[in-house]
Symmetry: C2
Subunit: 203 residues, 2 copies
């Protein structure tokens, strides 16, 4: 019997609303765990170890890389960021679905490694809408927003690599789609084949 959870890799540009969608997806669902990344950068004010990130030293991180403890990792502004393999695998083994929110580069690495997962790309309904959302945050300079929009264009151009594309236009609709994608995986014949034997041998 296949009780293992499903690894759900989610990417999407800054401003696509990934965070809100994932919160909505996880709300009240105890069968889903969110994979917390490890990083060597210092915690910012209010950030909690084990919740926002696992804050580790350079040495600890490098040791983890060498022992195969990182599912994927990257460096950004001189700091390491990565996904501790153990948390993910332990939870999958225990039957939880695990969400991995990572960027296109990280997700592409996992695809290339042949990591069995459902790859989902969160798409803004339009570039105008994305810009509106980024400007509406009122926290970034025009220059930063322009950079984010350019990064977004690059990420969106890579969306074709993913298994599913969910357009985040109406939030509740997009959450329903994420839920449907997960429930649908559970019904795949490859995950349900054990039932054929189970039903045929029960009488």
């Amino acid at each position: 019997m296949s009780n293992k959870g499903i690894l759900i890799v989610v990417s999407g540009p800054s401003g696509s609303g990934k965070g809100t969608l994932l919160q909505g997806l996880m709300q009240g669902n105890e069968r889903i765990k969110y994979s917390v990344s490890a990083t060597t950068r210092s915690p910012r004010e209010g950030e909690v170890n084990g919740k926002n990130y696992f804050f580790v030293t350079r040495e600890e991180f490098q040791q983890q890389i060498q022992s195969g403890g990182m599912l994927e990792f990257a460096t950004y502004c001189g700091n390491y960021y990565g996904t501790p393999r153990r948390y993910v695998y332990d939870n999958l083994e225990a039957g939880y679905d695990v969400i991995l929110e990572i960027d296109v580069a990280g997700a592409t690495k996992l695809m290339e490694q042949g990591e069995p997962a459902v790859y989902i790309f969160i798409m803004p309904p339009s570039m105008q809408e994305l810009k509106k959302r980024l400007v509406g945050r009122n926290t970034e300079t025009n220059e930063v927003i322009e950079k984010r929009l350019n990064a977004a264009r690059e990420e969106i151009a890579a969306a074709g690599r993913y298994n599913y594309i969910v357009v985040n236009d109406v939030i509740d609709d997009a959450i329903d789609k994420l839920k449907a994608i997960i429930l649908c995986q559970k019904c795949k014949t490859v995950n349900m084949k054990y039932m054929i034997k189970e039903v045929l041998t029960d009488a």
Copy 2:
């Protein structure tokens, strides 16, 4: 832009509860059409042409076969049964999802023809439960029930050919799974790829 509907082929043994599930799936959903089969057998009392079946003559049916008008067909007790291609394709083209409720033999033919569809098998939770449901109907002799159970075993053994297996244990859960499978197809990258171009060229 991909506005075409999805062809949903549903099979499952007598007593699996297919009919109830499909009713629940279609209730209040105007985007789904149910494909009505054609047959050369005479209408039974209360059966309505175009609703239960399209009742046609042998000559009409054979003519349809020869002109490629039947998506699949079979003979049973000396009568023809088949799926008129036109109703299915016209509705798919118009953007409706179309449900085709056919037996394993018919579904297998469609798979072999490479018919693009989502193939779903409705599975009883157990043979005991299936028997209970068939006996509970109080309409069949023991002999007929035994025949149905044997047919069910054969059909269940073929469930591995389908894309999805939905166990009909709790009806509402099973309906949710059918809905999820359909919604999930719409999010597949192959069906959403147009959005990449659309978003990237909008600004």
